[in-house]
Structures are given as structure tokens and as C-alpha cells.
């Protein structure tokens, strides 16, 4: 089980012949992900790791029946690729690309919503339902099937946390990197909504960071609509005002979006907030 993706999910890799695209196609196949096709314009007819390459998304979708795509396309063209995927009819799009212009992403994010298409990212590590499918760039071996749902705005910090969870015997139902950009598709609240309904998920770990108000909305959602235990870590307590901390979206602006304010809202909402990421596994264990 888990949410959004599972072992039936059929994936097209957009930008499959590129360095990252081909490397992670291999890794995803090794994990067991059903990668059924790839797209690189003018390279239709080739194959990568045994996966057929098409010239366009519409061709790839109509030939393979895929319902999901993952994007490894340079930032200048990535938003266009999101629109292409949505027009071609996939239901889920995972966009790994970092550095897409904000204006392009506002357009693409609004457009996919008009089509009822779910977008993960951009600037995210992807989504994994351990033991079933990995649609992303995360190191598969650190994940373990289980009952903890994980949502995070960051990549390596997620691996860090998952690593300690797995080491503590706490497997994961689905782990989602929602992305570090200011404009992203699926948000914390969308994931919480799905985790609430997912019988395989018994507890949730939410890894937030400074900037924006997605954590604030998540806290409100938890307070009102979420019945499962939530453990929270917010990165960036030491970050100064007005500086982007690596992620385009990790910026405190005019005193808004600080770790402190997010933490206090989560506490109010009844979530367990830990001070250090290395404390998460222990906190989660308390709920089992």
C-alpha cells in the first residue's frame, strides 16, 4: 500500500538519455520500479537499459499506457516538460530538476491542477513506497517497508532521517520529497490527507524547514483533520533573515517563516517536535 504510487505504477523517464536520466533509470529498474519508457526528442527508437525511448510524451504514453512520469530535464525546459506530460495524459509527474524559473513554475503548477494531475517537486528527490516502487533519486537501500509515512522538503536530510528510522526498525509506508522550491506541486497538506486515509500508515514524520507557509498550513491541517501521531523536525533554526539557505524556498522574509513560529504551531497542533533530526526515530518509537 502506501500513498500515490505503488508497484503497479508505470513510469516514463523524461530526459532518459541524459546523464542523470539514464543513471537513475538503471537504479529505479534495480529497485523494481516499472519504468516502461523514456523520452528524449530526436532519440526515439533508441533504448536505455532496455527501456524504449520515444520522441514525445504523447507517443510514449499512448504506446506504453504509463500513468506517471519523472523529469530529468534542464531547468530552462523543465516546466515545458511538465506541461507536455500533463497534456500527454499522465496522472502523476515527479520533477527532480532544480533551478526552474519561478514564472515558468507558476504557470506549470496552475496548469497541471486544471488537468487534475498530481505534481511532485520540482527540486525534489521523488517518491518511494518501499518494497514496491521508487520514482526518484533516493538511495533505495536505506528504505524499509513499514508503517511510517515521511514527508520532507529536503533530500539528504530525508535520507538521514529514514536511515535512522530503518536502523531503529521503523519501516516506511511512503516517503515523499515535496521539494525545496517556493513553487511546488503537492504540498504537506495533500500528503497528510492521503496518509490519513492510508491504512498502511500508522504514524507520520514531517521534515520542514524555514520559509513559506506550507508547514503552517500543515499544522492547521493536523489540528483539524489528522488523527495519526506526527513527529516533526524543522531545519533552519540558525538561519538568518533574508538569505536563501540552499533551497530557493528556504528563506525567512521580513521575519516570516522562521523555524520558531513553525515549531510552536506544530506543538499547538499536538505534534511531537524534536530538536535534532537524530532524535526522530526515538520520538516515533514512542508511538508504537
Amino acid at each position: 500500500m502506501g500513498i500515490f504510487v505503488n508497484k503497479e505504477t508505470q513510469v516514463i523517464v523524461q530526459g532518459i538519455t541524459g546523464r542523470d536520466g539514464s543513471f537513475h533509470t538503471k537504479k529505479m529498474l534495480e529497485y523494481g520500479t516499472k519504468v516502461v519508457g523514456g523520452v528524449t526528442p530526436f532519440k526515439g527508437g533508441m533504448n536505455v537499459e532496455g527501456v524504449p525511448v520515444f520522441n514525445t510524451m504523447s507517443e510514449a504514453v499512448s504506446r506504453t499506457g504509463a500513468d506517471t512520469s519523472i523529469i530529468y530535464i534542464p531547468p530552462a525546459f523543465a516546466a515545458g516538460s511538465i506541461i507536455e506530460a500533463a497534456e500527454a495524459g499522465v496522472r502523476n509527474i515527479v520533477c527532480i530538476t532544480e533551478g526552474i524559473p519561478v514564472a515558468d513554475m507558476m504557470m506549470a503548477a496552475h496548469f497541471v491542477r486544471t488537468r487534475g494531475v498530481r505534481l511532485f517537486g520540482p527540486n525534489c528527490p521523488g517518491i518511494i513506497t518501499p518494497g514496491e516502487t521508487k520514482i526518484g533519486i533516493m538511495p533505495g537501500h536505506i528504505f524499509k517497508k513499514g508503517a511510517v509515512g515521511v514527508i520532507s522538503r529536503s533530500g539528504t536530510l530525508t535520507y538521514e532521517v529514514v536511515h535512522t528510522l530503518s536502523a531503529a526498525g521503523l519501516g516506511q509506508s511512503t516517503v515523499i520529497g515535496i521539494g525545496g522550491d517556493p513553487v511546488i506541486g503537492t504540498k504537506f497538506t495533500d500528503c497528510l490527507e492521503a496518509f490519513e486515509k492510508d491504512p498502511a500508515t500508522e504514524a507520520v514524520v514531517l521534515i520542514g524547514e524555514i520559509g513559506g507557509s506550507d508547514e503552517e498550513m500543515a499544522a492547521a491541517f493536523i489540528k483539524e483533520h489528522f488523527s495519526k501521531p506526527v513527529t516533526v523536525f524543522i531545519a533552519g533554526k540558525t538561519a538568518p533573515d533574508g538569505k536563501r539557505m540552499g533551497h530557493a524556498g528556504a528563506i525567512i522574509q521580513g521575519g516570516k517563516g522562521t523555524a520558531e513560529s513553525k515549531i510552536s504551531l506544530f506543538r499547538e497542533a499536538g505534534a511531537a517536535v524534536v530538536d535534532l533530526p537524530v532524535d526522530i526515530a526515538e520520538a516515533v518509537k514512542a508511538f508504537f
Partner: protein, 390 residues
């Protein structure tokens, strides 16, 4: 990327948005002609990227050519310290010398984007010349926000809603509409992250004019604005950050003395938080990114070592895409190029951990697997270095 006022106003002019008549002056000798052209009376404005210039004396009214010269002399080539320059001051390399204008009223207008709704947002306030954050705190009712769906773009009713908020009848509506339409086009076509006209003034004939202009271009979109990249100027305190970005690194200088170097932005923030949690102060944020390029490690150590204040260095790598052996190789190479005379604590785990450790061992270094253990050891090393330093 921030633009200087005169650069932003140049763009406004290209988009047919009225601005005061003005001249850029980069040397004192260039001053007299513009001042004469403006009839002796003028405003002399220091061109710096930091905000808060007005209160810091960076904008001076001159009633005579002599006063203009005095103002120019006081500003040009000197550092100007504002509440945004972090105690250091930003050197004034150019002045904007503008006509003095009489106006009925000043307001605030900006276009930015709203993260929550993921749309451009037009913001107007009847309080012009005041920082919007201040207005937001003191008089939130005086602010009107209108969001624009990026799929349809700006519509007449968006503009109407803003204008009606000014409660001025119909006078000046055409001028306001033209200004907002053109500014929105500029915002979209030039990939602005923010364009702020504060104050936007209403002249005696009810027309609107941009008396000041601030503009930030989305860094991610600079690839399609080569003309803007060419005129880029970087404030002194951001030089290092910009330099790091060119090398594919994310760097933010902090005030502490414990340097760190991490792969991944979230983990880097969390690492700083842990340093702090264990009673130390981070000297920087530094994310070497997700790729496996040993060169990045070399560049990163180079940047770290430019800060004479640092006592210890903490390297924290969770290998995923980043491979531990690549990091170790970069580290090895960096050491071979320059000796590092500060203690280094390393944590290395994940992809190719074993290979990485072998490389480290070959040059006499060791690494932790566990993050907490690593930081606790870091603390010990730090305390030792403190004692050693005393």
C-alpha cells in the same frame, strides 16, 4: 539578482513607465552638465543595492549646483551604511541625479509572487515612501493585494480593484492602468521576482510616476536575460555567495567559528542547527549539492578557509547521489594542494562509504558513521582548540 535604482528605472522607461528625468554620474567631473540641464535644483541619490538608503542620508536634495556638488562629494566613492548593510556599509559607485518633482500624493506599489497561492500578487498601499513591512504591522488595512492567475495574466478588473481602493474617482485611471499593465508586462517578460515602486507618486495632472524603483530578477531565469547579467553588480557582502554559486555551491556566511560543509540544503541547515544545539556557533551554511564532483569539495574547502575566524571544520556527507569516495577524493586532492591548519571532523555514510573511508585512511583521516557521535566529537575538538587558542 538585484538591480540598482537607475538600472531598474532604465527598464521602466523601456516599458513606457514614467520616471523622473535623471542622469547617472560615476565621477564628480560628470556632475555639472546634468545639474545644469536640470536647472540647478536636483536630487542626488546614492546607487547602492541595500535598502534603507534614505534614512542613512543616501538621498539628498540640492537647491543649487553647489549643493549638488557637495552632496555628490559626500556620497560618491564612500561607503554608505544602512540598517541592511550589517555594520559595514556599501560603497557608492554611482549616483542618480534627478529632477525635483512636485506631487499630490505618494503611494506604494509592488508586484511580487505569493508562495501560498503560487500567483503574482499586486500590492498597493496608500502609505507611500514607507517600508511595506512597517505598514503591514502598523496599518494592515491600508494595504490592498490583488492576485493574478498566471494562466490568464493581468485583467482590467485586477487593475480596477486596485485603483478603486485609492478612492479617487475616475481621474488618473487611464494613467494608472497603463502603468500597471506595463509594469506587469515588465515583471513577466524580464522574470522579476520583485518590482517595487515606492513611492509611486500622483502628479498634479493626476498621472502616475515612479519616483523610486527596486527590482530583483529571478536568479533561475538569468539564462534568458543576458543583458541584465552584463550590468550585474554585487554588494560587497554577497560577493562570496555569488562566487560560490558560480562554482555550483550554496554558501551563506555566518558569525560563528565552526565551519561546515554538507551535501544537501536541508541536511546543511540541520547540521548548523546541531552545531548550535551542542553549544557552538556555525561559521557558514555550505551545501556542496547533489552531484559527485570532487572539484566541488576542493572549491568548498577553499571558500571555508577564507574565513580566518574558523576554529574547526565539520564535514557531513550522507551519500546518495553524492558518492563518499568522490568526496574523499576531493578532500584528498584539496589537502595535497594546500595544507589545512585547522582540525577537521568528518562524518561519512551512504553510497560507497567503504571506498571513501579507505581513501581517507590513506591520508591519515578517519570519519564517523553516526551524525550525533560526529557532532559530539566535534564539540570535544572544538573545546580543545579553544583551550589551545587561549
Amino acid at each position: 539578482m538585484k538591480l540598482l535604482e537607475y538600472q531598474a528605472k532604465q527598464l521602466l522607461k523601456e516599458y513606457h513607465i514614467p520616471v523622473p528625468e535623471g542622469f547617472v554620474v560615476k565621477e564628480l567631473s560628470m556632475l555639472s552638465q546634468p545639474v545644469q540641464h536640470l536647472g540647478g535644483k536636483c536630487v542626488v541619490k546614492a546607487q547602492i543595492l541595500a535598502g534603507g538608503r534614505g534614512k542613512a542620508g543616501g538621498v539628498r536634495l540640492a537647491g543649487t549646483p553647489k549643493e549638488a556638488e557637495e552632496a555628490a562629494k559626500a556620497l560618491l566613492g564612500k561607503p554608505l551604511e544602512t540598517y541592511q548593510t550589517a555594520g559595514k556599509g556599501e560603497t557608492v559607485h554611482s549616483l542618480l541625479v534627478e529632477e525635483q518633482l512636485v506631487f499630490q500624493k505618494e503611494i506604494y506599489f509592488s508586484i511580487t509572487y505569493d508562495r501560498e497561492t503560487q500567483t503574482p500578487v499586486l500590492m498597493l498601499s496608500a502609505r507611500g515612501g514607507v517600508e511595506i513591512e512597517e505598514t503591514a504591522l502598523e496599518d494592515p488595512e491600508s494595504i490592498k493585494k490583488v492576485r493574478v492567475n498566471p494562466l490568464t495574466g493581468i485583467q482590467e478588473h485586477h487593475i480596477r480593484e486596485l485603483f478603486l481602493f485609492l478612492e479617487r474617482g475616475k481621474e488618473g485611471y487611464r494613467s494608472f492602468t497603463d502603468l500597471v499593465t506595463n509594469l506587469y508586462r515588465l515583471y513577466v517578460e524580464r522574470d522579476a521576482a520583485m518590482v517595487e515602486i515606492n513611492p509611486l507618486v500622483i502628479l498634479s495632472d493626476d498621472s502616475f510616476l515612479a519616483l523610486d524603483a527596486k527590482m530583483i530578477i529571478d536568479d533561475n531565469a538569468l539564462f534568458r536575460h543576458e543583458d541584465l547579467v552584463k550590468i550585474r553588480s554585487v554588494p560587497d557582502d554577497e560577493l562570496q555567495e555569488v562566487h560560490a554559486r558560480e562554482k555550483g555551491l550554496s554558501f551563506v556566511k555566518m558569525d560563528g567559528d565552526v565551519a561546515c560543509m554538507v551535501n544537501g540544503a536541508g541536511l546543511a541547515m540541520a547540521t548548523m542547527d546541531m552545531i548550535k544545539h551542542y553549544g557552538m556557533e556555525p561559521a557558514n551554511f555550505l551545501d556542496i549539492g547533489g552531484s559527485s564532483n570532487p572539484q566541488k569539495v576542493i572549491e568548498a574547502l577553499d571558500i571555508i578557509m577564507r574565513n580566518p575566524k574558523i576554529k574547526v571544520i565539520f564535514i557531513n556527507v550522507f551519500g546518495g547521489i553524492t558518492r563518499c569516495d568522490d568526496v574523499a577524493n576531493g578532500f584528498k586532492k584539496a589537502l595535497s594542494q594546500r595544507p589545512i591548519d585547522r582540525p577537521i571532523v568528518m562524518r561519512l555514510t551512504g553510497t560507497n562509504e567503504k571506498e571513501g573511508r579507505e581513501i581517507l585512511e590513506s591520508i591519515g583521516y578517519d570519519a564517523f558513521s553516526d551524525l550525533r557521535e560526529a557532532v559530539i566529537h566535534l564539540k570535544e575538538v572544538y573545546q580543545r582548540s579553544q583551550r589551545g587558542g587561549m
